[in-house]
Symmetry: C2
Subunit: 128 residues, 2 copies
């Protein structure tokens, strides 16, 4: 299935430019926490299921599971607990620490976006 | 040549985790301005040469030239003027608009980093 290209079907206005802030926590080359991982934590919090969260993000179950492993290994306490039989059933729960980390990440993101608004508005006017 | 793994040669302290904010201006899938482009503008401003700027960034001359084309096409006025014979000689100059765009980008970046500091300090303490 193909999606129609935006703005190619007679519309006059070009797609507006957007500012995308991406925050990554890295150690050396390893990403310990980033936008995809934060989105995964958020989806886990809502769905309580690694499989549903992975599906929602268009990500393989195995990839989601690896991201959880990376995050759990990066923090002093696990952010996510997987239920026994989780590999098959995919039950997953955010720990208190996981919810705290997600909230802090979202706070960084919101703050960064807000701080960039002033210069972004001026920059946007210079775009064609 | 292999590099020794960090922290495996007797050192006690692991490499510290860092926060990497990356700001991108996008339209659809196209990146109009991002960290690499901003760094290129900065290097052009300092060196006055597309070749020197590309070398400094470990980037091919052709790639640097394409980034300049993309940026020049994305803004109402060109950000960089290439000298005649520039393909061979690589003389390049930031326009007034180019300097303005670079300053606005750096302002967004600095603001975003500063805004994230509070939650980042708290998040950092939760890392192992």
């Amino acid at each position: 299935m193909t999606r129609a290209k935006r703005g190619t079907t007679g519309g006059e206005a070009p797609e507006p430019a957007r500012l995308k802030p991406r925050l990554r926590v890295v150690r050396g080359e390893e990403v310990l926490l980033g936008p995809g991982m934060a989105e995964l934590l958020d989806a886990l919090q809502r769905t309580g299921s690694l499989r549903l969260a992975a599906d929602e993000m268009g990500m393989s179950y195995m990839h989601a599971w690896q991201l959880v492993r990376t995050m759990n290994g990066a923090f002093r306490e696990p952010l996510v607990t997987l239920e026994r039989g989780g590999a098959a059933r995919g039950g997953a729960r955010l720990t208190e620490r996981g919810a705290e980390v997600l909230a802090l990440y979202q706070e960084m993101e919101t703050g960064a976006r807000r701080a960039a608004q002033g210069p972004w508005r001026r920059l946007r006017r210079l775009l064609s």
